[in-house]
């Protein structure tokens, strides 16, 4: 038995996993229409390679990774690109995003594809293929996998996250039950890339079936299945690493800083499909649960509207009043059933007042420190709340606001029902905005200083030119005077004497320019008198 460690705090919310975990997963039929946001991952949006009207095949690259941190998007089925346009997506801002809208032709015809022997490829090439296949972390954070693995070589520990600690969600559970062997094949590819000393799979003890399946699949492979106690948020990356290795990811750092790479089991499965079958990331398993007739897991194409998935789960019951995309602790509430599911969507919960009653109005904080007791980041949530509420952003930051993982444990236990996480999100985004403003201000300061410098220099130049002109005019006059006198001692002219006419002509041009300059200098005053 591996020695398990604990992280501070944590909560035990009602699990609600049995509703959906008992049913075998279902493959969704082709939807009416697919909406594929160009940004389904952390980083910059992918760049569309197709145009409206293009016919595409299943698995065809629709949008390529753009920049260092990005991931590609593929056609989940064959059909026609109906439009590339702004479409509502599941984002807290409610702002529309650029999406590729795909009209399936019903044939579901694959682009020619095949698996390959990854051991025969150089590491860089394999990582590039991961990027081009659009593989991102499927645990919810959607961090592009090729970037995560880029510098991960000869690491200490590779951790596969099968904890799935958030209530209601059972996709990883189902996937491990049904696809254990394939997950292990994916893990082997990860091991090939990262060459870890240890490979661990962390699974919460409320998933006995998945544990058994994974243990069987891992037998003899050197991969260790570690059963961890059920405690939210043990599936948080930093928390899981702490549980399994006892090491803490440094504040502001990445797991790689302590020799760890952590990846979701669903990501390993996606890597397996890509490498061994040549299939890019075009579908994923999604839990559809809550206030529906028959909650279950559905393998859906990326871009399928929420409404079609809810229908497949038997349809919403009568008192349904909205959806949660993601889990009940960290998810997002949406009302529009036409929003597409994306790579990061692991769960759709149909809401009802009975299942998710609105909290009573918030009361003031009484500093009871229940939030401190449960905070897995060991923060002082009541202080952060105090500062965020007072918009005292600097203080919030110095009290380690950015170490908050927004798990919601503090709000869960708050007797005053304060939406604490919302305050932290508010404070974080204000701080980011301030940083952007700061950059803009620095740019403006530089430009203003340059502006002042330029004005000063122009003034100086004008003054200099004026003086020069005057000098030149004087010199010209003097020259003209001397020229007027005949010089008999110079019979042979080695140099042609300047023609008086040309001299006066250049003079006239110069004087004109001078006048223009003087006018320009006088302009501000003229403007003032006009006003």
């Amino acid at each position: 038995m591996r020695k398990l460690h604990t992280f501070h705090g944590g909560i035990h919310p009602a699990e609600h996993k049995l509703e959906s975990s008992a049913q075998p997963s279902l493959r969704a039929p082709l939807p009416q229409r697919l909406v594929l946001p160009l940004k389904q991952h952390i980083g910059s949006a992918a760049k569309a390679l197709v145009q409206a009207g293009d016919k595409v095949l299943k698995g065809q690259l629709l949008a390529a990774a753009e920049g260092m941190l990005s991931a590609a998007i593929h056609a989940p089925t064959s059909g026609t690109v109906a439009a590339i346009d702004f479409h509502a997506v599941a984002h807290p801002s409610g702002l529309p995003e650029l999406c590729i809208v795909l009209q399936p032709d019903g044939e579901d015809r694959w682009l020619e594809h095949a698996g390959f022997d990854y051991r025969a490829l150089p590491r860089d090439e394999l990582l590039n293929r991961l990027r081009d296949a659009g593989i991102v972390g499927l645990g919810g954070a959607t961090f592009p996998t090729h970037v995560k693995l880029n510098n991960a070589q000869h690491i200490q520990t590779l951790i596969l996250n099968g904890a799935e600690c958030e209530p209601w969600i059972t996709t990883d559970d189902r996937l491990m039950c049904e696809r254990a062997a394939e997950i292990v094949q994916g893990i082997e590819i990860l091991r090939y890339l990262a060459q870890p000393a240890d490979t661990l799979i962390g699974i919460e003890d409320n998933k006995p079936q998945a544990i058994a399946a994974m243990q069987q699949a891992c037998a003899g492979s050197g991969i260790e299945v570690v059963v961890i106690p059920t405690l939210y948020p043990s599936g948080g990356e930093k928390q899981l690493i702490k549980i399994l290795t006892g090491k803490e990811v440094p504040s502001g750092g990445r797991p790689l800083n302590i020799g760890v790479v952590c990846s979701n089991v669903a990501t390993a499965f996606a890597i397996h499909r890509m490498v061994n079958h040549g299939e890019p990331l075009i579908s994923r398993l999604i839990t559809v649960t809550g206030n529906v007739k028959s909650p279950r897991n559905i393998e859906a194409l990326i871009g399928t509207p929420i409404a079609e998935l809810v229908q497949l789960a038997g349809g919403a019951l009568e008192d349904a009043n909205g959806y949660i995309v993601g889990g009940p602790m960290m998810g997002l509430e949406v009302t529009n059933a036409q929003l597409p599911v994306v790579k990061g969507s692991n769960c759709i919960i149909v809401k009802s007042d009975k299942l998710f009653p609105a909290p009573p109005p918030a009361l003031p904080c009484i500093r009871c420190t229940r939030c401190v007791q449960v905070c897995p980041a060991e923060l002082q949530p009541q202080d952060l709340y105090w500062f965020a509420r007072a918009k005292n952003l600097g203080k919030a930051q110095s009290y380690n606001l950015f170490d908050c993982i927004e798990c919601g444990a503090c709000s869960y236990v708050c007797p005053s029902n304060i939406p604490l996480v919302q305050y932290y999100r508010f404070a974080k985004s204000e701080i980011w905005a301030n940083e952007r403003d700061k950059e803009a201000a620095n740019l403006a300061r530089e430009r203003h200083e340059f502006h002042l410098l330029r004005i000063e220099r122009e003034k100086q130049d004008k003054a200099d030119k004026l003086a020069q002109k005057e000098k030149a005019a004087l010199a010209a006059k003097a020259a003209a005077a001397t020229q007027a006198q005949p010089i008999p001692s110079q019979p042979a002219q080695s140099q042609p004497a300047p023609d008086p006419a040309t001299v006066s002509a250049t003079d006239a041009v110069a004087i004109d320019a001078l006048r223009a300059q003087v006018r320009e200098i006088a302009h501000p005053e003229a403007k003032h008198t006009k006003e």
Binding site: L95, F426, A440, H448
Partner: protein
């Protein structure tokens, strides 16, 4: 009594000497306070504070000649930061100061512009491109929204357009909480 007086005067002299010495020894060249204040100001160079730019306002604050609540683009957070820096109390915006507005950029109506260059001269950050008798245009990313170009335009072709919200500028809202809601 006499001893007390002597002791006190001696202490006063000694401390005075120490202060005088440290003032000479630890003399700071320039005025770093002005730079610190200037770093907080938003650099719109708009002059709404009644000073001709951010630096002059910073200089005036450092000299104690201006209050810290005269910069609308800096918002209340700006006042708070200045108060923190200077060890002063937070004060709300004065009544003679304009209310903070959403961040905007100037936009030139290119059909109306006569190319007079007046706005180019007014722009404190050289964010307007154009030449005499040529249509002008504003480089939006460099515009600070100071509005200084609006007034000089003889044909009123410059308007201030609030920046639209994008995913990059979107922010989480301040949670409405019950305790702040006042009963009717």
């Amino acid at each position: 009594m006499l001893i007390a007086l002597l002791v006190m005067s001696f202490i006063a002299l000694a401390l005075g000497a120490v202060l005088g010495f440290s003032a000479l020894k630890f003399r700071v060249e320039g005025n770093p306070l002005v730079d610190k204040i200037d770093a907080i100001l938003p650099q719109t160079q708009c002059g709404q504070c009644s000073f001709p730019g951010c630096k002059p306002y910073a200089t005036a604050i450092a000299a104690g000649e201006a209050d810290i609540n005269r910069c609308p683009p800096g918002g209340e957070e700006g006042i708070r930061k200045l108060a923190d820096l200077l060890g002063k109390e937070f004060i709300p915006f004065g009544e003679d100061t304009a209310a903070p507005k959403p961040k905007s950029v100037a936009v030139i109506d290119e059909n109306t512009c006569i190319g007079c260059t007046l706005c180019i001269q007014a722009c404190p950050v050289d964010a307007i491109a154009g030449a005499a008798k040529q249509m002008h245009t504003i480089i939006a990313v460099e515009c600070t929204g100071c509005e200084l170009c609006v007034a000089p335009c003889p044909v009123d072709c410059i308007t201030m357009v609030p920046l639209p919200q994008t995913l990059q500028t979107w922010k989480w809202q301040y949670p409405e909480d019950a305790q702040e809601k006042k009963a009717p």
